[in-house]
């Protein structure tokens, strides 16, 4: 039983990380109807930024966070203006390929600037390890939980109560109608990319503090897509729930099935298997909107 609970708790931690990446993805999708493959790379950049500001620059945590967010804002604005805006109105594939290209460039930049090496700043961020009985709660889960909850609360408020948030939702619904009532679509796009960048970078900073930063950190983005699909692509709450479900499932399945399989490593592909199953049986996820198509 203890083994099971430990697996669940570790899975929760993992799920929170997935959820963090997934949230950024859902925001872009909700606002500009673009599937952002590069979300995992925002996390990667965030991790390296956290390292740069905390270790070589030696800044305090609050200053590093503010600086990292500032960089994220600039990055989001640049990406939106240079890469995304020229593609408005192009087919879906063009946008997806653009974000893939973006991911490639970001990975290249990370390699160029930070050498693609393993960087760690463990112990710089406050880490809390709690013990409940015999089960230890890993610090990732606490940090992830806190950041996710705060982010989600802020975003929910944004989408429900602020003018720009409502404009963002409306833009996702129908670009032409939005433009005809005088909402500037370009502003909406810019804001949504900035938010996604900021969320990704914050997530990356926290993750980097826990597990270190390296290029494969970006691959967490790929796995997070399983979360996004399971939760439904346009539901922020769904991303959180699905993140937890998938993280726990993955960990429990790996814990019990790996000893049976030669070589193990089930955790690496578990999200993808879930992804295929979800896609076949419930393509719009648990909380997603079913898209109705007309000819």
């Amino acid at each position: 039983m203890n083994f099971f609970l430990q697996l669940v708790v570790t899975g929760l931690a993992l799920g929170m990380v997935y959820a963090l990446v997934a949230i950024g993805f859902v925001i872009i999708l909700k606002c500009s109807n673009a599937f952002n493959i590069a979300q995992g790379h925002f996390v990667l950049i965030g991790g390296y930024l956290g390292y740069t500001f905390l270790v070589p620059f030696g800044l305090p945590i609050w200053a590093s966070l503010i600086l990292a967010i500032a960089v994220a804002v600039v990055m989001g604005l640049l990406i939106e203006r240079l890469a995304i805006r020229p593609l408005v109105g192009q087919p879906e594939l063009a946008m997806i390929m653009m974000t893939i290209a973006l991911a490639t460039v970001l990975e290249g930049l990370a390699t160029l600037i930070w050498g693609g090496e393993y960087k760690t700043y463990h112990g710089v961020l406050p880490t809390v390890t709690l013990k409940l009985g015999q089960i230890s709660i890993p610090p990732e889960s606490l940090i992830g939980l806190i950041v996710s909850v705060v982010t989600v609360a802020l975003l929910m408020a944004l989408f429900r109560y602020t003018k720009i948030g409502l404009a963002m939702r409306a833009t996702a619904e129908d670009l032409q109608v939005v433009q005809s009532v005088g909402i500037k679509a370009t502003t909406v796009y810019a804001v949504s990319w900035v938010i996604a960048c900021v969320v990704g970078v914050i997530g990356g900073m926290l993750l980097g503090g826990v597990s270190g930063v390296m290029i494969p950190l970006a691959e967490i983005g790929l796995k997070a897509f399983a979360v996004v699909l399971l939760g439904g692509v346009n539901s922020i709450g769904g991303a959180i729930v699905a993140g937890i479900i998938l993280g726990v499932l993955e960990n429990v399945a790996a814990g019990y099935l790996d000893p049976l399989l030669p070589g193990g490593g089930l955790a690496q592909i578990f999200p993808f298997i879930v992804m295929i199953i979800v896609l076949i049986f419930r393509p719009y996820g648990l909380f997603g909107l079913v898209r109705i198509e007309r000819i």
Partner: protein, 348 residues
Amino acid sequence: MPGTFQESYAQDMAIFRTPLQWGMLGLFLIVLFTCPLFCSDRILTIMTMIGIAIISVHGLNILTGYCGQISIGHVGFMAVGAYISAILTAKLGWPFWVALPCSGLAAGMAGLIFGLPSLKIKGFYLIMATIAAHFIIIWVVLHLRSLTGGADGLTVPKPKIGSLVFMSKASYFYLVMVIACLATFLAVNIGRSRVGRAFVAIRDNDLAAEVMGVNLWSYKLQAFFIGCVYAGVAGSLLVHYYGFASVDQFPFMDSVWYLGMLIVGGMGSTTGAILGAVALKLLDELVTVVGPVLSAAVAAQAAASLALITRGLILMLFLIFEPRGLAHRWGMIKAYYRLWPFSHEESE
């Protein structure tokens, strides 16, 4: 009146309509197949790699360019073909000319399995399914150690047909080029056939296609099957060239890069698939030449990042400035030449 006039249906349907076009084709084939006489081994290697890429991109073009089913798992299907061919020749001792079609069929079967979700989903959802396919395939390859050698890889014998062994670079060049030409010929004709037209209808609007009587279930799976057969053959040729099969030859980013070739070349055009593969493979070569120089001059990691950044930037620039690819530009150049000194066709 200048121009070529079609007076019969056969003439209208012909791929090569004028003696000039036939002459160009003949000249191209003669130059291509005499390359080993005057090219160095290095250039032959590059051309062989381009040939393999062309075969693979043709498959992706049929699947993504014609049928609109975007796949970022193409390299995974190449790996299926590669490993089937490797296992058949190395472990079971089957002859290469049997193993090669088998590798295509096996990859096609894998394509059918992972193409199943395409019946319910499209666009981004399908992309996710194909990404999942890639990782699942690679995982299976790594874990079937007794068959595939797992992470250690598998030594593959050089291909042999009868008493002819493809040992030298030149002989392998001929093998790949013959298959690439056949693949191109088939791809052109698939695009013009009933199947190809159905693919295009599905790409443009699948609901409308279904209403018109195109069987979505059958044709989408056919697209996956054909596209993956091409991938399997290309994968088989790749590992037989190296004489070694390992999962490192099939990285995930290569799938993205094949899609990039398709975009740079132009979706839904056989010419585009060829142009894209040639252009981007040459770009890769350029990067491998420039990279070390840059590494020495700037920083050690410059070479690795240069490859990534140029790839990404090229893709971005094409998406923004030339979304219909090199094939479209090539068509415009041809039209300009045909219409000169007039700048417009009357009907347009």
